[in-house]
Symmetry: C2
Subunit: 451 residues, 2 copies
Amino acid sequence: MNRGIVAELEPIFYPRGVAIVGASNREGNFGRFFLEGFLQMEFEKLYVVHPREQEVLGVKAYPTVKDIPAEVDLAVVVSPQDTVPGVVGECAEKGVKGVVIFTAGFGEQGDQGRRLEREILNIAHRGHTRIIGPNCQGIYCPASRVTHFSGLSRESGTVAMISHSGSLSAILPMAAIAQGIRFSKVVSSGNECDLNAVDFLEYFGQDPETKMIIAYLEGVKDGRRFCQLARSISKEKPIIVWKGGTTERGARAAASHTGALSGSNRVWKAVLAQTGIISAQSAEELLDYLQAFYYLPIPKGKRVAIVSGPGGPAVATSDACIEAGLELAELSQGTRRRIAEIIPPVGTSTDNPVDLGMGSGFAPQWYTDSIKAVGEDEGVDLLLIIGGSWLPNFGDMVVEAVKEVNKPAALVSMGLMLMVPTKGIAIYPDGRRAAMALGKLVEHARFKASD
Amino acid sequence: MNRGIVAELEPIFYPRGVAIVGASNREGNFGRFFLEGFLQMEFEKLYVVHPREQEVLGVKAYPTVKDIPAEVDLAVVVSPQDTVPGVVGECAEKGVKGVVIFTAGFGEQGDQGRRLEREILNIAHRGHTRIIGPNCQGIYCPASRVTHFSGLSRESGTVAMISHSGSLSAILPMAAIAQGIRFSKVVSSGNECDLNAVDFLEYFGQDPETKMIIAYLEGVKDGRRFCQLARSISKEKPIIVWKGGTTERGARAAASHTGALSGSNRVWKAVLAQTGIISAQSAEELLDYLQAFYYLPIPKGKRVAIVSGPGGPAVATSDACIEAGLELAELSQGTRRRIAEIIPPVGTSTDNPVDLGMGSGFAPQWYTDSIKAVGEDEGVDLLLIIGGSWLPNFGDMVVEAVKEVNKPAALVSMGLMLMVPTKGIAIYPDGRRAAMALGKLVEHARFKASD
């Protein structure tokens, strides 16, 4: 079934026409919500299917999918559960390539729901129609103007996402977009009665637009194929996974959420060790690691140099770096002499962590000159910069200095500066989070270099 | 020396007059920086000591401390290292109760610096003068208008802080103040040649203004006394400690930062187990836990109920709760029936984690009614609420519902809502952080209940 995964999924992500089945003029109708998203994206070949409506939000409505006088490659179905088999049958007859079933109340509710899923699948396969869902949010692909939520960016990027949670398939991209990150494709795959996370992983692995993959997963249906694919894709494209259902109670919640079998935490840990997948333990960690992979080059080694104004955070972040698997670089005598010429001799340190002292708050060039000094030290692979000057051009100066150095750099704003990440520099509010993110870059570099 | 710690420290935190020694009109002078802070606080009995200045920022300058024609209980010294022994001698003769030595270049730089510290201490003790520092930022006490940084609040509160980092003694309070938290007293104690963290812990333990204590510590000089005090104070006032120098490289950095001997991580873990101290591993964790202790009541048990709109975060946060030492409450049949009447039967769950489904984004009363339902369940000790409605009055509605329930509650905003914490409800951007903070409340409750 998955031999030609790209050929099968490409028309679904780049459809010639989209039908929203069940959209109505009623306030709070979920079809309207999808329709609003597509209209914001200025997707043009858009059709509504509804038994009674003539038009919804200015989009013409047809009684059935088969009545639409144009090609439809993607249908998004929000109509009631009992209408879904009929709708899928019409889609199959019409030659629709993919049907997103938003409607819930299937496998996640027990045996009867699972039987209904099998029935739908049989109907779909009569017409070579693939199913995404049910109980899912569907897909976002800014290059084709397909969306599954209002308020996402129309700009395309290099990150793909697979999600077993509809809400996270919107919340996480929105948070990342606010950091300047852009997505190639996002899919919320729900109960996965047909297409599943492994299919999308395979597709994103081959997708030239996609350079890295993030995922929120509850259970994985075909563990062996998942591991094989993840292991080979990870060598080229970092895969960052946040796994839900790693405890018994979490797994019980996952079963009623998407009907997923989460598997044991022990098995998941073995998967991580084998595949090179970067593991995140929360939404925040996932976004932190994504930021590092999106904006920073892959480091050549694990030796980090810390450059800090405040002394306490420099000490504690040294601890955090060690715990994150980094090593504190031993700066060369030449580098230390260079730094000694930049900063005063008292209340400072030229040893790593380099402590610029209190005066650095008024002297942004102490930061930038020290960044260049440690950055040009051959014994340094990564930079971690803490704090900064209150002067308004500090951010631009640091970005410029880091660019000259061309090594992965993270800046810890201590919650006091408002800076956005940009190529070459990731921004974190806390030293420990910066250390952990840099640690994940090193972990990935090591996996890439392994056999 | 510490028999009457309150009697000794009270005049230093509530001084009749303050001298800033070394403040000048030169741009970037640190004495000016202190002076600006005191002027912002509208501290009135303020004097400058400088050999040449007549007046700094409108404050009259005297050639020496002894020339000030009024009582001075606190002196803040920023003058060069070689002038410090002389200044301390004058303070001792004048009867100054406490001298904050901001000037660095003492014990943190090696043996010669340590000798100088002993010399200063001998001079100070001739006049019953106590030393804070050197290499420190000094004290903040809004009730007396004493400050050590510009931009802190003039409102007094219930949190005391002890810091081995001058910058953190300002950065952390500033971040907490932005969350509505207010401080009783803050001290940055630097190299601690005289008064040390244990002295301040004892004082804050007895201080009626102080209801909880946070600390950033690198090394503790009198470990046995620290443990005894911490253990007894923790029973009444939660103590949250972020420890720097827990790794070899962190300890090396701490030694050059404040000359501290950090001790091994193994010893520190034993201290935590023995004393009931709440351990934070980063600035962010410290602030997260502080928020919980500041705004929430102490829970009666460890059974948490999760109420969530988004399903994925509910699953993953269930895992995080288990990992944080909480237990997912088994909701009573009555509670589940109540919830079933609030939310639709499909795409939702009345089991804990309660999944309100996608529709809850448009229906804030699903949240508030469910909060009341689980909150009134006798099997529930804590509430963790995830996501919310986009409607603007959602925040107020949730605060109201939580108030009725009167159990500790945390709300996870998923980074999408801007809400500030308030009595009864703490706010976190991430489910895992909320779970960990609630876990610390439970840990403290258990310690309080132990013998």
